[in-house]
Amino acid sequence: MSKPLDQNIKENHSADLGDYIGPLQKVKSMCRRNPLAAVSACVILAVIILAVLAPVIAPYGEAQQDLLNRLKGPSAAHLFGTDELGRDVFSRILYGSRVSLIIGIFPPLISLVIGIILGLTAGYFGGWIDYLIMRIADVMLSFPSLLLSMALMYTLGRYANSIVCIFTALSLVGWASVARVVRSHTLSLKETEYVEAARSIGVRPAKIMLRHIMPNCIPSLIVLYTLNVPSCILSESTLSFLGIGVQPPAASWGLMVNQAKQFLFTMPWLALAPSLTIMIIVLAFNFLGDGLRDTLDPYLQKG
């Protein structure tokens, strides 16, 4: 009882508020506890800005050839040297970031939406719908991911250009793991009293799923999304590296490594520069995803 009364009240008051931590505060506390995640977020932001401004920043065009200056080493005029057609590697990396970001950001978003819809449906209705959706998800997850996207590339390759193909293939591959997470959340949430209450006053299933169940899945989904982004970026660069992804003359980091492979021993920087950029962006998303997982989602265990 040594404390003055008003201070006591203040402490109690702040303790009450402390029960609820807003998302913004969570992010702030994450930055403090996990500076690496904060740095990663900045790196990602910087890459996005560079990608958007690529035509302004890049000293040369995406496919601008200069056959007199082929295979030059790094210099002031060409920061990372030039490739076998005299194209400026630095400029191509800048343009390549657009492919990587588009493939990294949107297909996981589409598979997220598909996964949410199917996961909610399976978990909420149960029965044969659940069985059917989850067996399809099992089938999708049984394939080694690269081989499944290769099969999709084979089929889609007949109908569309390579970037559209990769975009579609990766959008169709990732939904299964999202559906599994959403389904398991839905299964436990649909037993809660407030969902019961909503159902008893006659709220339609679609509204219950979207208004009452979905919001509770969001933290897990943010984490899952953040970790799906780097795997899509890696898939794109891998497919392009194997020669079955983005086709020349478009610039993609994986394709650049593929073309630089033949000069690996004489001009290693040609392969190193795009490889490093892939690694940096993937690492940044992984660090961010890890930080978000620790902050937002105690249920998804570190693996």
Binding site: R135, S142, F143, L147, M153, Y154
Partner: protein, 306 residues
């Protein structure tokens, strides 16, 4: 026993689904097989004859049934470009991929578990941060980058190991390290978190209270239980290792299944692509089944449940 049978039975719809999906995905392209086989300058008559001979005029479900029956008899069709049975091509290539995957897994296990133990023991101290940073970097490095890096350092600079692989053990060292590097990161993270969990259990305190050394407790008591989840995770890694094998085999020209798959997609060789994908996927499914069964053998808690 009942649980084992149930687990095996649950595999059947997935296997059928896998066959159906590979079939649909690759057959959906209209007129493809015939035009690839013949090229451009052939009469309609020839095309029709070939279409009939390949059963491509039958309805899709009939084609699927005959495909499935063929698969069970070990007949995966004939490669368009190599003009040989797909089954024979796969069986020739498989030992190389198997060796590569086993060596890669061994590398991932040894490096990953050691790094995980060190990180767990020094939890939140410098070595922990260093090893965990490395493991995340390991997961983030594209496999083709580590493969090219290894080629550059060990084949070109140091001239220690061959640049390309003919399938012999020595020539598979570099591809295996490139392949295992990614998984080693995941294994290390898993070992660390699982070991940290186990270290909080009561029986560890008991062992410590008996006066056992910390190292002895970790190696004898904790590790045994901590490695159980790592086993399961290794099985899940099998799938990503098969993806990785496609890349390493392409960089080091290992004559394995992954290289068959890459070649087949470039040559639009549908039966070969279909065969390699189906074979690899079934392999992964069986591997996961084996890991599940193994897990129930080594963990009495699960064994007694069923």
């Amino acid at each position: 026993m009942k649980a084992v049978l149930k687990r095996i039975a649950s595999m059947i719809p997935v296997l059928i689904g896998v066959m159906l999906l590979t079939f649909i995905l690759l057959r959906i392209v209209p007129g493809d097989p015939v035009s690839i086989l013949l090229g451009e300058h052939y009469s309609q008559e020839t095309i029709d004859r070939l279409t009939r001979a390949m059963n491509l005029d039958k309805p899709l479900w009939e084609q699927f049934i005959s495909y499935v029956l063929g698969v069970f008899r070990g007949n995966l069709g004939v490669s368009y470009t190599l003009k040989r049975p797909v089954t024979a091509l796969i069986l020739e290539a498989f030992p190389n991929t198997l060796k590569l995957a086993l060596m890669g897994a061994a590398f991932a296990w040894i490096v990953g578990i050691l790094a995980g133990i060190i990180a767990a023991v020094t939890q939140n101290k410098a070595p922990d941060h260093i090893f965990m940073g490395f493991s995340l970097a390991g997961v983030s490095v594209p496999i083709f980058m580590s493969a090219l890096f290894l080629q550059y350092v060990f084949s070109y600079r140091l001239k220690l190991l061959p640049l390309t692989s003919d399938g012999s053990a020595v020539s598979l060292i570099l591809p295996a390290v490139a392949l295992g590097w990614n998984s080693a990161g995941s294994v290390a993270r898993m070992t660390r978190s699982s070991l940290i969990d186990v270290m909080e259990a009561d029986y560890i305190d008991t062992a410590r209270a008996k006066g056992l050394l910390r190292t002895a407790v970790i190696l004898k008591h904790a590790l045994k239980n901590a490695l159980l989840p790592v086993i399961t995770m290794m099985a899940l890694q099998l799938s990503s290792m098969m993806s990785g094998a496609v890349i390493t085999e392409s960089v080091f020209s290992v004559p394995g299944i992954g290289r068959l798959a890459t070649q087949s997609i470039m040559n639009r060789d549908m039966p070969l692509l279909q065969g390699t994908i189906l074979f690899t996927t079934v392999l992964v499914i069986l591997g996961n089944l084996a890991a599940d069964l193994l897990y129930s053998v080594v963990d009495p808690r699960i064994r007694n449940e069923g």
